[in-house]
């Protein structure tokens, strides 16, 4: 029987032909799909099952959130450009795009905190005020938590980038955090439509 020797640090490929870490990230994202489907599915049932439901635009600040959506889309672009840059070996550009992604992601969180503050303190729209308030804060709050985790991980990856840990040949960390970040963007695209626009 032949023995397989795997050098230390070498990426192995699983049955689907992906590096282990990348496959792990995709499996994690699949579980996240089910998590957010539960939240969004619950929202849909409550929304259409309730005898009374406010028009979202009368309670929520749609233009502000549209701007926040724009921010998240921008951060997705800078993220994918960072990956494209490291794949070409352009380290300086990769650093710039990673820093931009961190800053734009943090800006998204800042706008969300401002929105929450305005709703809670000025509009007195609290989770306990109505069913809409309850599901709104639960769903957008969990998404915001995901963005927060993404910004923290992105900062960690950016620091590693500045320390020279990634290169054209080895950039799996950047690709994985990118997948997570795009997924968070994708979920927000759905949430923005379902909660704010419909």
């Amino acid at each position: 029987m032949d023995a397989i020797t795997i050098p230390h640090g070498m990426e192995t490929e699983a049955g689907v032909g992906l590096p282990d870490k990348k496959l792990g990230m995709w499996i994690f994202l699949c579980s996240e799909v089910m998590f957010f489907t539960g939240l969004i599915g619950g929202y849909i049932v409550l929304r259409f099952g309730a005898p009374m439901w406010p028009v979202p635009s009368t309670v929520l600040n749609v233009p502000l959130t549209a701007f926040n959506t724009f921010l998240l889309i921008c951060s997705s672009v800078t993220m994918v450009l960072a990956l494209a840059a490291i794949q070409k070996g352009d380290v300086a550009k990769t650093k710039r795009f990673l820093v931009a992604t961190c800053l734009i992601g943090a800006s998204f969180l800042g706008v969300q905190v401002f929105e929450y503050h305005h709703l809670l303190m000025i509009e007195h729209f609290t989770p306990s005020k109505s069913l809409f308030g309850s599901v709104f804060f639960t769903t957008t709050g969990f998404h915001g938590f995901h963005v927060f985790c993404g910004v923290v991980c992105m900062t960690f990856v950016t620091i590693k980038m500045f320390r020279g840990k990634y290169s054209q040949q080895d950039h799996q960390g950047i690709e994985n955090i990118g997948l997570y970040w795009h997924f968070v963007d994708l979920v927000w695209i759905i949430l923005f439509t379902v909660i704010y626009l419909i």
Partner: protein
């Protein structure tokens, strides 16, 4: 015994990321406009808005997450998750369709 090597995705030209960005931006503006200004019924409006959101989500998944260029096995794995998610939402909607609102949200 050699370990099989090879790229985890098919070789491809880099997508035009800025073009995807402009599409996403345009669809977002259209969504907000349709939601606030378009004088159509609620049903068609929901279909229109959800359709645009699905197109945006697909653009992100296919081009930014590179799902279009990954191996078919990954696409199948992810698709199975989406099928399960669809079943979950459909099962939820069945409750809304076949039960009165009072069973979904009991009166206090």
């Amino acid at each position: 015994m050699e370990i099989p090597e090879g790229p985890s995705h098919t070789p491809h030209r880099a997508p035009r990321y800025m073009a995807i960005f402009w599409w996403l931006l345009a669809l977002t503006v259209l969504e907000v406009f349709a939601s606030m200004k378009l004088p159509i019924g609620e049903g068609p409006k929901i279909v229109l808005l959800v359709s645009m959101a699905i197109v945006k989500a697909l653009l992100v998944a296919l081009y930014f997450m590179h799902l279009k260029f990954e191996r078919l096995s990954l696409g199948v794995t992810v698709s199975l998750t989406l099928v399960l998610a669809l079943i979950l939402v459909t099962a939820n909607l069945m409750q809304w369709l076949f039960h009165s609102p009072s069973t979904v949200m009991p009166p206090r």
